[in-house]
Amino acid sequence: MSEPTTSAAAGTGHNAAAELLALYRSLVLIRRCEERLSTMFADGEVPGFIHLSIGQEAVSAGVMAALTPEDTIASTHRGHGHAIAKGLSLDGFFAELLARDTGLCRGRGGSMHVADMSVGMLGANGIVGAGLSIALGSALAHRTLKNDAIAVAFFGDGALAEGLMHECLNMAALWKLPLLFVCENNGWGEFLPTSRQLSFSLEGLAAAYGIPHVAIDGNDVAVVAAHAAHIVAEVRSEGPRILECLTTRVRGHFEGDAQKYRDPDELAALSERDPLGIAAGQLTAMGVGEAALSDITTEIAARIEAAVAAARAAPAPLFEAAMADVYTGAQIRQPARQGGV
């Protein structure tokens, strides 16, 4: 691990505390949203599959703090944190997870396809590694359009074994694209440790492609934010970089996964690396009072409850509207039943 050139944690005074407090707010927002989803999923109110990023929030909060609204991101199946930190509509998010017509995707995508193009969030993705090439193309578009934006590809260590990973690293390096690869290395690829899936390290892979790589503590949001700030600037001016964030998957691969394949001691030890706990400890050490932190939690809880209430009250999606959105303008013939049944 290398040390960041600047660090909110290492800094002193009001600015550093204010920056860390803003990051803490982002952590709490992601955590509370997912905890709320977990409850509603257990209650049967959230349909389908959800994959929670509890324990990994610092990556989303820290990286997104370095991006502009014009920068684009492509995400993963574990993408709630990315989307929330990128600033998507919270009302639209909960409405989507509850499969409502007012959802960001009008109830057609759900958790694995949350997207908000208006904030440059090009979509979570149900296919491991697929976001890599979408981010690659987005970076290519930014450069062609000369708009000074960058693209960020989030992926887990499980995606390192995908062929697309290698194609995209090669093309990004070859073309010096404004593309930041962010690996959320939580040590797990679905139900198997990635130590049993990979014959190589991301560091070694990065060296092979000639892309600068740094591995950092992905659970310390101040560290992530400090590294992201200067790496994003490098990506904007020089080309691709790889930021490997060592992090922790607290929940199962999907919600409802009892994780019987994990060592209970390993799971129990994860609380020591809790991103919220780490940030709260740093804030306390900086002299930020307990009340300031609990105020954030209270305020966010109220905001989430408002979004959940609005989603619950929202109408279900209409089949006709869904049919009309398969193609732009809906000029295509749908399999009408005029001649048949």
Binding site: L122, N125, L132, A135, I332, G339
Partner: protein, 324 residues
């Protein structure tokens, strides 16, 4: 009217589309410096620059996925896959990403990309360089599929495909690249989803697309010598396909034969036949027949490949059978 080769028409359409819209880019293996494996993009890098005509490594999955990402980010990419057989490597980008992005993101954004690729046999290219896989793509909601049969439709349909807001799989036939044909001087755009009637006839409707259109036209000439007047419908677009024109033709002739080079089983013809058996049932005076490839990979040997490909003789035999 000017005479133009099919390949030249593709090149002209790409060039005109790039001149008209700076957001159109070309991306693919050997599309820039080499001008395309078959020459479809010859001269375009020189005219529009390396930023808009981009050679990629041999990475079909990534280049197709990049086209999706670029299309979501303000460009209109035209990706080339050198042989349709290689589209097996781009399935995720097309099927899971491009086709569904508009729908699954609630209509937030369309995916204006074209994936050009040549299909078809007749060149002895063997089992992995000759396949006609269009039915796979036509089966995926969200994709459009086009397959022109001549230079004029190649130009007009490619301009329409590039201007289209949704992802289009644009299929060219390798054996047609050298074909010459008349192209109107004003180079008209041909809307997607509109078939053309290339030959009128009262006795039977023959529906085809791509190179099979010429097989159908040759069969129609042979049948005319027997006093059978066949109407030849060039489908041009496979998804969406022009059901109204096919039904209208069937309503005049009351007999229908569908011809394509792709394998017959579970093919495009099966969909056309099923629809006409439904909405055209009252018009039918004979069985609807298909003439297509047998259920085997495309063989290499000239003799085997010739036997494999639909022939005018097989089309004529099918016509005689439905009229009998």
């Amino acid at each position: 009217m000017a005479e133009m080769r099919y390949l030249r028409a593709i090149n002209q359409a790409l060039s005109d589309a790039m001149a008209a819209d700076p957001s159109v880019i070309l991306i693919g293996e050997d599309v820039a410096e080499a001008g395309g494996a078959f020459g479809a993009s010859r001269g375009l890098r020189e005219r529009f620059g390396a930023e808009r005509v981009i050679d990629t490594p041999i990475s079909e999955a990534a280049l197709a996925g990049a086209a999706v990402g670029a299309a979501l980010s303000g460009l209109r990419p035209v990706a080339e896959i050198m042989f349709m057989d290689f589209t097996t490597l781009v399935m995720d980008a097309l099927v899971n990403q491009a086709a569904k992005a508009r729908f699954m993101f609630g209509g937030q954004r369309s995916v204006p990309m074209v994936l050009r690729t040549p299909h078809g046999g007749g060149l002895g290219a063997g089992p992995q360089h000759s396949q006609c896989l269009e039915a796979w793509f036509a089966h995926v909601p969200g994709l459009k599929v086009v397959c022109p049969s001549d230079p004029a439709s190649a130009y007009g349909l490619l301009r329409a495909a590039i201007a289209d807001p949704d992802p289009v799989v644009f299929i060219e036939h390798k054996a047609l690249y050298a074909m010459k044909g008349e192209v109107p001087d004003d180079l008209p755009v041909i809307p997607l989803g509109q078939a053309g009637i290339l030959r009128e006839g009262r006795d039977v409707s023959i529906v085809a697309y791509g190179a099979a259109v010429h097989t159908a036209l040759t069969a129609a000439t042979q049948l005319a010598e027997e006093g059978i007047e066949a109407e030849v419908v060039d489908l041009r677009s496979i998804q969406p396909w022009d059901e109204a024109t096919v039904l209208a033709s069937l309503s005049r002739t009351h007999h229908l034969v569908v011809v394509h080079e792709a394998v017959e089983a579970f093919g495009v013809g099966a969909e056309i036949v099923a629809r006409m058996a439904d909405i055209g049932f009252d018009e039918l005076d004979g069985p609807i027949l298909r003439v297509a490839a047998p259920f085997m990979p495309v063989p290499f040997s000239k003799g085997l490949e010739t036997a494999y490909l639909p022939s005018p003789e097989r089309v004529a035999a099918a016509v005689r059978r439905t009229l009998a």
